[in-house]
């Protein structure tokens, strides 16, 4: 393999690439360089990356199994829509929209904290049950709130999710989760997956690790939901169901558990797949879970499972030069 692939590029190169990418997003937006369909798919890709990498924190790095991510999306989507339509609708989107997204993320993060607390009491499979119950509660809860449109949905959300905002949030999510993963908390989260008893015996505060994973994961799930709401401009509770959660699960287990590069890969592959399968209608929802089952049978860790694209790894994690043989 080529050398640059094995080592992260110099910091300057990375920053330049990032700046160029963001500039490109801005240019595309400003000068209408691509048609609406491509723009829509690109934004979807960004949202999917956020969803995938954030769920990966709990399901991949921590090795638990949550099916509730669509619920966090829903919380983020609805609260941000309330902020941007009902409460701060008069504001300039330039400051109002980030505020709405943050609010959505924070609500999701706060509820994620509660779910994390519940997860202390129960063992592995029970967490799946808890997240499932959470998903159903969010869905039927929203259906019973007329203020946000009940089962008919929330209409008239502004089209604020631009390509640039999506790119900014995507980069922010990847950066924050990478920093977390390569910190003592990230190692604690992984230790919980590897062997919770040994982790405890080695001084890992597994409760704190679990809470960190849940809060961060659900926060970004909420952020993705907020972006999603302001992309579609119409949301209803039915959108955030178990199928939506399954889609995110497919991304995670396709791209690879415990991997940032894998999350991007999984999100990209899924986004393309979803577009290709569009004409199939409901059969699409047969093929997606089938892929999930086949993945579990033949490649349970996904394409990049627990391996990382070196560009995402902090430089300090590589062996020092003089130690090389």
């Amino acid at each position: 393999m080529m050398r640059w692939f094995k080592q992260p590029p110099p910091r300057g190169v990375l920053l330049a690439l990032l700046a160029a990418g963001l500039a490109a997003c801005f240019a595309i937006e400003q000068f209408g360089l691509v048609d609406d369909y491509v723009r829509f798919v690109l934004i979807t890709l960004g949202i999917n990356i956020i969803l995938c990498v954030s769920l990966n924190l709990v399901n991949g790095w921590m090795g638990e199994f949550s099916v509730g991510h669509a619920g966090f999306m829903a919380l983020g989507a609805y609260l941000s829509a309330c902020v941007s339509v009902k409460w701060l609708g008069w504001g300039d989107p330039l400051w109002m929209f980030p505020l709405a997204v943050m609010a959505g993320g924070l609500l999701a993060g706060a509820v994620g904290l509660l779910l994390g607390l519940l997860s202390f009491k129960t063992r592995g499979d029970y967490l799946a049950i808890i997240t499932l119950a959470f998903l159903m509660i969010v869905k039927s809860g929203i259906e019973n709130i007329p203020y946000v449109g009940g089962p008919r949905g929330f209409l008239g959300i502004g089209n604020h999710t631009t390509l640039l905002w999506t790119a900014v949030w995507t980069v922010l999510t990847l950066w924050a989760i990478r920093n977390l993963v390569y910190s003592r908390f990230g190692r604690g989260i992984v230790a919980v997956r590897e062997d919770e008893i040994a982790a405890n015996a080695m001084g890992v505060d597994t409760r704190k690790a679990k809470l960190a994973a849940f809060v961060v994961s659900s926060f970004f799930g909420g952020v993705a939901g907020a972006l999603f709401a302001h992309q579609l401009q119409f949301i209803n509770p039915g959108v955030f169901d178990i199928v939506k959660s399954t889609e995110i699960l497919v991304m995670v287990y396709l791209g690879g558990i415990g991997s940032l590069g894998g999350s991007i890969l999984g999100a990209a592959a899924f986004t393309i797949l979803a577009q290709v399968l569009q004409p199939l209608g409901t059969w699409r929802m047969v093929i997606l879970p089938l892929i999930l089952v086949l993945l579990m049978l033949f490649r349970p860790r996904g394409i990049m499972g627990m391996r990382e694209f070196p560009w995402f790894v902090p430089r300090r994690e590589f062996p020092a030069k003089e130690d090389k043989k």
Binding site: A176, I177, N179, L180, Y182, S183, R184, F185, G186, R187, G188, V190, A191, E194, D195, I197, A198, A199, N200, A201, M202, G203, V204, D205, T206, R207, K208, A212, V216, M306, P314, R316, E317, P319, D323
Partner: protein, 258 residues
């Protein structure tokens, strides 16, 4: 000399089974204290109680004069008690270095929001952890394998790594559960040497479970003998060796099982 660890009348019951019955144990600072006893005597269970994995059904565990039973295992570990496991429990999918770092992290201070935005303090702590742990691996002769997957190491190195990981916690008391398991006599001899080095170099107090009599008799300052969850003898190696009850327990076991 004061007792570093004190186990007072500890009983551990699982349903109807009494795994540890009224155990009393005092481990003196600086000693290497051995626990021996036939299979199923409750030795590992005693470790699990001391390290907080189980909360004792009755009795207290005191460390430096403070009651620690009932605290969470991670708090006990950070308080200065590290251990190894009878069946090696490494973080198999992680690198050797990360295994050690996870234990070392117990003493890091930065917060998780701080880590997420890469505060300088978090970065410095990370850098320090890599350097410190690399040094530690160097001492344990594992530095060449630092970036290998822990599960890929040969058995002997895995055992050594488990001890290195425990030492990364910077404990004042180290619990070793059958460190010589699966070793031949040449390897066991080396292990005695290694344990001696460990004790002197880190000046750590040790409590170790071992079936290998020669190791226990040569290495330990004091020995406690368990049978059916009860202490049947305690004393210096010589005292224990000549205790009729111990001989009976071991002979009895041989009659029964071999």
């Amino acid at each position: 000399m004061s007792a570093l660890l004190e186990v007072r009348d500890v009983t551990m019951r699982f349903g109807g089974l009494v795994a540890v019955a009224d155990l009393n144990l005092e481990v003196t600072q600086g000693h290497a204290h051995g626990i021996i006893g036939p299979n199923g005597a409750g030795k590992t269970t005693a470790f699990n109680v001391i390290t907080g994995i189980y909360t004792p059904t009755a009795g207290d565990v005191l460390f430096r004069g403070e009651i620690i039973s009932g605290r969470r295992p991670s708090a006990i570990a950070r308080g200065g008690i590290a251990r190894t496991f009878q069946n090696i429990r490494l973080f198999r999918d992680l690198t050797v270095l990360d295994n050690v770092r996870i234990a070392h992290d117990a003493h890091a201070r930065y917060s998780w929001p701080g880590a997420m935005v890469q505060l300088p303090s978090a970065r410095r702590a990370e850098q320090e952890s890599i350097e410190h742990c690399t040094d530690l691996l160097e001492k344990f002769g594992l530095v060449d394998a630092a970036y290998e997957r822990a599960g890929d190491l040969p058995y002997g190195s895995q055992r050594r790594l488990e001890i290195a990981r425990a030492m990364a916690l910077q404990p004042s008391l180290l619990l070793l559960d059958e460190p010589a398991a699966g070793m031949n006599s040449a390897e066991t001899l080396k292990l005695v040497e290694f344990l001696g080095w460990l004790r002197d170099h880190f000046s750590v107090t040790m409590l170790l479970i071992e079936h290998h009599m020669q190791l226990v008799m040569t290495f330990c300052d004091r020995i406690t003998v368990l049978d059916f969850g009860k202490t049947i003898a305690e004393g210096s190696p010589d005292e224990v060796r000549n205790d009729p009850k111990v001989i009976e327990a071991y002979l009895g076991q041989e009659d029964g099982h071999e």
